[in-house]
């Protein structure tokens, strides 16, 4: 059964005011197109969960979509701080819940596997545990040692960008796979954006590559370049220059507003956004081919 739809329709249908959203992808394949569409549709009071809020959540926070942030590293990776989020955390205008990467991912893992909690070994550092009452402890019944546990995170909707999927939503990812699978299985609804829609025979030629199976997917949106300024392995490069540029933009609220006006509100969809980027930028992000060695599944 095809689940093909536009990203506009998918966001309209599956992202509601007040929802907990997990836009997945660790540095790689961050679903910026969906983030921009949520901004355009004016969603409010969202709880935005992501290990690294990255620029995508900073833009959504700046646009007023968020009530609360759940995170484990609130920086601009390799650049510095996320100035807008940092300021809102400092002045108390944004609620938050903070984890380490592993405990954040363990929350997704518990949600994805249907468990009431996930255990982790102690790290000796307890200040975060004291600051966040979601952390609890459980005694190992074999040795009496205490483990730290976190409860499941079950987002209302997970948004995952992928390299290729079929029209039903069987999706394949390569490169950094972060927490996409866990986010998808943990969530109530799953929206996929994809660089390519392929025939199911392509997917079925390599079933071990499938990270997300169709039956947990609600919407499949064909959105090439959906992850810029993040990247899609094998399709285009990370726009490091923009990550550095954003650091300058956020020095001035007026520039942030101008950016959102021009690049989010001012474009209809991702295609318009991509075409609006300077030709030099699009050129700079191109990638030469480097194919994986073939594998043979055999005809049985």
């Amino acid at each position: 059964m095809t689940k093909l739809t536009t990203l506009q329709d998918a966001v309209a249908r599956y992202v509601k005011d007040g929802d907990t959203v997990y836009a997945a992808g660790f540095t790689h394949m961050i679903p910026f197109a969906a983030g921009h569409e949520i901004i355009r549709q004016g969603r409010k009071d969202l709880t935005l969960a992501r290990a690294t809020p990255d620029l995508i959540y900073e833009m959504m926070v700046a646009a007023g979509c968020a009530r609360k942030l759940i995170f484990s590293y609130v920086g601009n990776p390799g650049v510095g701080s996320l100035r807008i989020i940092r300021e809102q955390l400092e002045n108390g205008s944004l609620e938050w819940e903070e984890y380490s990467h592993f405990s954040m991912i363990c929350r997704l893992q518990a949600g994805a596997t249907g468990l009431p909690f996930m255990p982790m070994n102690q790290t000796a550092a307890t200040d975060l545990e004291k600051a966040n009452p979601q952390y609890r402890r459980v005694k190992d019944p074999y040795t009496g040692v205490e483990v730290v546990v976190v409860p499941p995170l079950k987002p209302d909707v997970a948004i995952v960008h992928v390299q290729r999927c079929d029209a039903e939503g069987n999706a394949q990812i390569w490169g950094i796979i972060g927490e996409q699978k866990e986010a998808a299985f943990a969530a109530e609804h799953v929206i996929l954006t994809t660089e390519e829609i392929v025939d199911e025979s392509v997917i079925r030629s390599d079933p071990n590559r499938t990270v997300i199976p169709a039956f947990i997917v609600d919407a499949v949106c064909h959105v090439p370049y959906a992850s810029h300024p993040s990247y899609t392995q094998g399709y285009y490069d990370r726009d490091n220059a923009f990550y550095l540029e954003w650091d300058r933009i956020t020095e001035d609220p007026a520039r942030v507003k101008a950016y959102l006006d021009e690049w989010v509100y001012g474009v209809k969809d991702r295609e318009a956004y991509w075409q609006k980027l300077p030709a030099e930028t699009r050129e700079r992000l191109q990638v030469k081919q480097r194919l994986a060695a073939p594998v043979d599944y055999g005809e049985y």
Partner: protein, 252 residues
């Protein structure tokens, strides 16, 4: 040969790595230190990134820890859950580099908030990322930092990543499997934990003095009875760093 403070840090950090070490690498200076070690005394260093990449051979300097150049040509890619559980928690990581705004007397690190009230921070920093578990479970943790008093308080405002807490016994009592902070490399010298887990000055770089180190440390810094001097950066180390690893001088 002349060199910058940053080069001094990177070269001394590289020398801490042993051939065959499995290293949890961060971007920036630690990345350069690992690559330098690989090209000098530790050719079979295994680099692991918290993004889930194992055995990277980056052909360019990555800006972020999730750069595609870390993936193309790597030995393995796995999920974040697995890199933190199968690799780190299981005890498969020898070395990690950590960073933060504050490193205290017992090697604890703060990368979360400045100020005593977590809910109302004076300065909000990025937070743990992978470092809370890395500090807990890697066998040896290293820190590279400029030697400044505000970076070396007696006690961190918030412990993001555990060193020895209030002393080595306190850490041991938690059962955390890792060895804790084993060395802090600064532009003045090396700090290492003594038998109680307190950081003491164990080596000075050429041209630095114990007095300088003491003036720039927030607790009464002791020096090791056998205070050493580090060998200055060699021509070869500097050449590899400048010509092969950072030709654009990003991390000078």
């Amino acid at each position: 040969m002349e060199y910058t403070a940053s080069e001094l840090l990177i070269i001394n950090a590289a020398r801490l790595l042993k051939d065959g070490d499995t290293v949890f690498v961060g971007v920036g200076s630690p990345n350069l230190a690992c690559n330098l070690a690989m090209r000098t005394h530790a050719p079979s260093l295994l680099m692991i990134y918290e993004a889930g990449v194992v055995g990277s051979r980056p052909s360019r300097l990555p800006l972020s820890i999730g750069d595609p150049t870390l993936v193309s040509g790597a030995a393995a890619v796995t999920s974040m859950y697995e890199i933190f559980s199968l690799y780190l928690q299981r005890g498969n990581v020898d070395v990690a580099f950590l960073g933060g705004a504050q490193i205290d007397r017992y090697g604890n690190i703060n990368a979360t908030v400045i100020g005593s009230d977590y809910q109302h921070p004076k300065v909000r920093m990025p937070g743990s990322g992978g470092s809370m578990e890395i500090a807990g479970w890697a066998n040896r943790c290293y820190v590279m930092t400029p030697h400044q008093k505000r970076r070396f308080p007696e006690k961190c405002d918030f412990i993001t990543s555990a060193g020895f807490l209030g002393g080595r016994q306190q850490r041991l009592a938690t059962g955390a499997r890792g060895g804790g902070t084993q060395c802090v490399v600064t532009d003045l010298g090396l700090l290492e934990p003594d038998e109680n887990g307190e950081l003491v000055l164990t080596a000075l770089h050429t041209g630095s003095t114990l007095e300088q180190a003491r003036e720039n440390t927030g607790w009464p810094l002791r020096s090791a009875p056998d205070l050493k001097h580090t060998d200055p950066p060699t021509e070869r180390e500097l050449r590899i760093l400048r010509e092969e690893l950072d030709p654009q001088g990003t991390y000078r």
